[in-house]
Amino acid sequence: MNGARPDDTVGRVSQRTMIVVMRLTKKRNIQMNAVVAENIIKTYGKKKEVTALSDISFAVPQGELFGIIGPDGAGKTSLFRILTTLLLADSGKAAVDGFDVVKDYKAIRKRVGYMPGKFSLYPDLSVEENLNFFATIFNTSIAENYDLIKDIYVQIEPFKDRKAGKLSGGMKQKLALSCALIHRPSVLFLDEPTTGVDAVSRKEFWEMLKGLKKQGITILVSTPYMDEAGLCDRVALIQSGKILSINTPQGIVENFSKPLWAVKSSRMLSLLNELLQKDFVEDVYPFGEYHHVVMKDSSGEPLLREFVREHNNEKAVLQEAQPDIEDCFIALMKN
């Protein structure tokens, strides 16, 4: 493991023990998982009325860029807080770098980087003061790990004397990321880092994450934006506290079993309503310029073509469509 420090000894001993145990049980995958969650359940409220997380299990190997994709209320923040030891789950187990989130929380708190939503920075301290502060808190200095944050920090370095509160959303994002990285964490937890930020900065941010991956840091990112899923190594689609699917983005898309078509016409509303009535249609929903039509099976294709021909006077257009993450999410939600 990179960046070993004296107080890692206990952790490493238990890791070694774990590796021995795994060898004994003939597990193939000897490499330690950076993050493991097993049957995590989390509820809120005195009578446990609200179930935020319902039997969540997954594992993230070291060095992976893992995305947790889901809308607000899906449980993303609760999950992150449990993994970063800020919340206790009702039941289930979780471990980061082999350390249990409940028993070994102190060890985890020393080694992970965490960026909660809203980019928690000190608005009345300057960029440089913020970074210096976080570096000192983590027993390091800006100079020590500068190479890690250099590509990110150079973009805001010209503003290093500006108060953090006066930065734009994109710049705050970069500063918050730098502060989370400054101590060279082994695992980075980013909770909705692209929410509320302009489209250009969002794209830049993902470029920065790809760059970080090359340094071997395991990154867990949560986001409500479906299109960002494609930028991850693997994703977990989450909705209402349940995981709908875990796979590589391509894997998820490949699992979309039904044929998918795109139609449009000059009268989109009636087009939608009519298609909904058709037997050969499993589902139809708006998807930007076109409607996406999910067929029950390929036998319906000729019927669809006929339908489109019938609507020629409305300039109906039909073309094949490649499913993307959003189509998969919708299909999984409706099951």
Partner: protein
């Protein structure tokens, strides 16, 4: 779509000291149109919307909303429009019914009307069982759909929606836009801002603000042709990349 212009703006400008937040924007919105008002954070969208809603006086330029002047008749504007934003829509610690009664009362609707409309909305959204539940207990998607219904409770001619689908799951988003279509069909003009570029496609026309000015205004298909893009996302990125202002 008739030719009635429900919103007109001519060189509308708003300055805060030296800073020009909104820089001489001009556009019209027709009755029953779904008008997408896009722009990056800091481009001036919110400031422009505030002026149109009668919440903020322009520095210069002219604008009318529902036929009323934004300078002199802003109270009349407020009575004729509906408004919904992502940040605030309903009172979380009141029940579904109480919220509707409250907003109906604010807009001077009669008791009879409020009762009928409440029943209608509950049925339409399949929320009959949740009529007496606190809004806080509803899932986000339901809240937003309910908030939209409440925003048009008093049947205004125009409704302003400020990022109404932020953070909502894909299925609910589409259900929401279905509701927008239905409202537009009934003649309500919808003025909506959004960060989801696919939603821009659902609009009749779209304007994109960059650095306080309207850099593009057209139908989505025309914009894609003009900017040689395959999606509104691409159009937006091409325009947004030119932006100088990085303020939040």
């Amino acid at each position: 779509m008739s030719d009635d212009k429900v919103i007109t703006a001519n060189n509308l400008t708003k300055k805060f000291g030296d800073f020009t937040a909104v820089d001489h924007i001009s556009f019209d919105v027709h009755k029953g149109e779904i008008f997408g008002f896009l722009g990056a954070n800091g481009a001036g969208k919110t400031t422009a919307m505030r002026m149109l809603c009668g919440l903020s006086l322009p520095t210069s330029g002219e604008a009318t909303v529902a036929g009323f002047d934004v300078y002199k008749e802003n109270e009349k504007i407020k009575k004729s429009i509906g408004y919904m934003s992502q940040k605030f829509s309903l009172y979380e610690d009141l029940t579904v019914k109480e919220n509707m009664e409250f907003y109906g009362g604010i807009y001077h609707m009669t008791d009879k009307f409020i009762k009928e409309k409440t029943g209608f909305i509950l049925e339409h959204l399949h929320l009959e069982k949740e009529a007496n539940a606190l809004v806080r207990s509803l899932p986000l998607g339901w809240k937003q759909k309910l908030a939209f219904s409440v925003a048009i409770f008093h049947e205004p001619g125009i409704v302003f929606l400020d990022e109404p689908t932020g953070g909502v799951d894909p299925v609910t988003r589409r259900e929401f836009w279905n509701m927008i279509y239905e409202a537009a069909d009934r003649g309500i003009t919808v003025f909506v801002t959004t960060h989801y570029m696919d939603e821009a496609e659902y609009c009749n026309r779209v304007s994109i603000m960059v650095d306080g000015r309207i850099e593009a205004l057209d139908t989505p298909s025309q914009l894609k042709k003009t900017y040689e893009a395959t999606s509104m996302d691409e159009v937006f990125l091409k325009l947004a990349r030119k932006a100088v202002r990085t303020a939040d």
